[in-house]
Amino acid sequence: MRVASLTGPVLLSLVIATIFQLIPASGVWIFWRPNFLLLVVIAWILYTPDRFGIGFAAMVGLLADTLFRTTLGHYVLVFAVCGTIAFLLSRWLMYLSIFHRAFLIFIIIICAELIQAMLFSVWDVPVTLGHIPIVAAFAALSWPIVDLLISRVQVRRP
């Protein structure tokens, strides 16, 4: 059976996520803005675990490192860990409702932020933990849109 290529939709989704990530923000929104790239990566892994896994997450993490101008490897680690969690849970997560998946995203983003805080503290970058529940909540609120878009792309593929 011929497997349809997902390169176009994946690239498009990553470009859109990057644009959302780059929109200039000010004030507290800088801290509260969800990591759209991470959300898109998790969505692709959840819907196509047979084609996208930890390697894909790490590659996008590398892109995030150059984009965020963080030390190369910083987001590779964060994305790989979150990608692993999403990959391990993908088999039974698909049977849950979108709201349950949003709750899982809340937990994954908290993990991602804690890993980031740990890495930043290694490099002596001052970190605050107060924003973590809020950024996780915003990510969970954004999740249904990402989930629906990626699932729709999946449905339309032959």
Partner: protein, 257 residues
Amino acid sequence: MAVDSYTTWLSPLYKIADNVVRPLYWIANIPAGIQDWGKTSVISRGVLEQENLRLQQESLIHLGQLQRMSELAAENVRLRQLLNATELLMDSVLVTAVIGVSPSPQGHTVTIDRGRDDGVYVGQPLLDAEGLMGQITAVYSGHSIALLITDSTHALPVQVLRNGVRSIAEGVSDFNRMALRFVSPTADIIEGDQLVSSGLGGRFPAGYPVGVVTSIKQKPGAIFVDVEVDPSAQLDRSRHLLLVFTTGDLGRGRSDR
């Protein structure tokens, strides 16, 4: 991570990535551009007239202050000549606009729309209307990246305007806060003191506003006091900035090419 942290071997990768994502920065900046266009284009005649009147009054006040400033500057030059001190150089500026902001809350950098073609060079100071913003860290042909003074990797020599006490202001990855390091409890610094760049180190010209001291705390048993500074510049809001060229720097960027 270790290679990237301790060497510059991977810096070409950042340059390539920066050029690749440059169009995305432009697209991401469209909403802000539309907002700016809306502010200037969709405005009533009455508001424009009011603004015009206000600007005329402000211009008159500034012209009056400038006359006084010219007199003071001339007096300052005479006094410096009497002291055999070096003459202060006048700075020229180049207006620039922010076209990108670091998406990471911890990385305080902005991308501006001036680059090597405009004579911008690494280390060049950047101002907004309120005070010192940062310095240029990477220059490309049509754009540059500036590190803001609130970035945790940035430190800046400052002095208290009131009495000339010198210190170092460091960023703490917070747009609204900086810290003075290694300040003795006996140092003559009080809340409300205005800090300006001291010019030491030769990177930033002297006399530009940096911030205002907002709190001074001493932890029990600590040798130094914690001094917090509120930056003067609107670091997370300003969209139009000024690149400072001191007299010796004019054309430096072009010759570096």
